[in-house]
């Protein structure tokens, strides 16, 4: 099988990630932060090392501000429900994933939250101007996906962060599709909350996620519980990470994520992005030359867009194309990709698009093979 569904989750994982998970289960099998015996302390050391690694990689001010979650969606829920439960207005982009849309919709239905939407356009200055126009004195947060999970286009996060900072409002970034393939730094990009999956571009196991807090804006916990500290006080501790982390963490997953982050660091974000774009380019040009095929964004460019390619074929449901590709040994994702807002923005047809997304493990030869399969499949469809 040629796996081109890496925007859903990367596969395969680097061997060092598999080894780290196994090693954690063998040698760090105690509950971190709960006891003083060697297995518990070994687990705590391993978890702390991942915090340090993530903080350093993403420019988070201190490892304490690195919060482990189950996935990017959980990170986003903690932030949005923490910041916006009492209402006001929130400003988002027009290409948000349902990880942002659904929590906001739920908050809006419950109370007085109003959602304002600004368009992301190819010109970064115009994008910033669009956001600037939609800001009001009641805006409580600016929330933006760094890269569209469907079309790969990006928002100018540093400029939007500067705008949010100048207005004194928190800047929340959904880095689900950009972490590990685009430069992303909380300090340089003025990001107050960075929400990330561990299992996509960071090559960690599924069931891992990160919430990185800038430390300027306090956040109430989404859930309370045991932290292994201050146990006689029924109030949740005020300090991070305990304030936002309750219950036993996913130590094997966190160890795998740590190995993934270090693997990405060793490969280099730029090198991974360049490789992924090289893999997508022949596919882009093949599809571009076919009749009835519609592409939605310019060819992917390293450092500018995420290597995600969506297409549709006039009169053919996207799921039918995915099924035919699957029969030919190619794994892709079709439909709306949990991002109906992005599909609406780009005007994709009923049934959505077929999405091709490579990873560092995709080979150029494999991509050329998919190119040939697509050509044969679609030229006379």
């Amino acid at each position: 099988m040629i796996y081109l569904d890496n925007a859903a989750t990367t596969y395969p994982k680097p061997p060092c990630v598999l080894r780290a998970v196994l090693r954690a289960m063998e040698h760090a099998g105690g509950n971190p932060g709960r006891s003083g015996h060697p297995l518990s302390l070994a687990a705590a050391e391993a978890v702390w090392s991942c915090r340090e690694s993530a903080a350093d990689f993403f420019g988070c001010p201190t490892p304490e501000n690195v919060i482990f979650t189950m996935n990017c969606t959980m990170s986003i829920n903690i932030v949005l429900k923490g910041l916006l439960s009492s209402g006001g207005r929130v400003l988002i982009s027009d290409m948000e994933h349902n990880a942002v849309m659904r929590p906001l919709y739920a908050l809006a239905r419950k109370g007085s939250l109003k959602i304002d939407v600004a368009a992301v356009v190819p010109d970064p200055d115009r994008t910033v101007a669009n956001f600037k126009r939609k800001l009001t004195p009641e805006t409580r947060a600016l929330v933006c996906a760094h890269a569209s999970n469907v079309f790969g286009v990006t928002a100018p996060v540093a400029a939007l962060g500067r705008l949010a900072r100048s207005r004194g409002i928190p800047f929340v970034v959904d880095g689900a599709q950009s972490a590990g393939v685009l430069p992303l730094n909380m300090t340089e990009d003025y990001i107050d909350f960075l929400c990330l999956p561990g299992h996509k571009g960071l090559y960690g196991p599924m069931g891992t996620g990160l919430l990185l807090c800038g430390g300027r804006v306090p956040l109430p916990p989404l859930m309370e519980g045991g932290t292994g500290t201050q146990s006689r006080d029924l109030r949740q501790p005020d300090t991070l990470p305990e304030r936002l982390e309750s219950g036993t963490p996913n130590v094997p997953g966190i160890c795998g994520l740590h190995a993934g982050i270090e693997w990405v660091r060793a490969q280099g974000v730029d090198a991974i992005a360049a490789h992924e774009c090289r893999c997508l380019l022949p596919l882009y040009h093949t599809l571009d030359a076919l009749p009835r095929v519609r592409l939605y964004a310019p060819p992917p460019r390293p450092g500018v867009s995420a290597a995600v390619l969506s297409f549709s074929v006039e009169g053919v449901p996207s799921e039918a194309i995915a099924e035919r590709l699957q029969a030919a040994g190619v794994a892709v994702r079709a439909g709306y990709h949990c991002a109906p807002a992005a599909h609406k923005k780009f005007g994709s047809p009923e049934g959505g698009t077929v999405r091709l997304s490579p990873s560092a493990f995709t080979t150029e030869r494999g991509a050329q093979e998919v190119s040939r399969v697509l050509h044969n499949l679609l030229v006379n469809y």
Binding site: G36, A44, W48, P237
Partner: protein
């Protein structure tokens, strides 16, 4: 003479953070589960090997710079 400065730091994360900062600055330290009963409940201590009151002050300064403020530092040695 080396003495042990016992610092009650709350969570294991803060203890490990403190340990790594101190290690980078040439101090040896050990993380332990807190053994003395505490009003707060459970927590961790960082035992730091220090050779003088000056070193003790330096350790506390290094930790404070990282936002780690131990409750009730206790030492063995120096004036009983």
């Amino acid at each position: 003479m080396t003495n042990t400065l016992r610092l009650s730091v709350g969570s294991v994360g803060r203890a490990l953070h403190g340990q790594r900062i101190l290690r980078r600055n040439g101090y040896r330290s050990w993380v332990h589960r807190r053994t003395e009963p505490s009003r707060e409940g459970c927590g961790y201590t960082l035992d730091v090997a220090v050779r003088s009151p000056d070193e003790q002050a330096a350790v506390l300064r290094l930790l404070a710079a990282a936002g780690i403020t131990p409750s009730a530092p206790r030492e063995s040695g120096w004036g009983g």
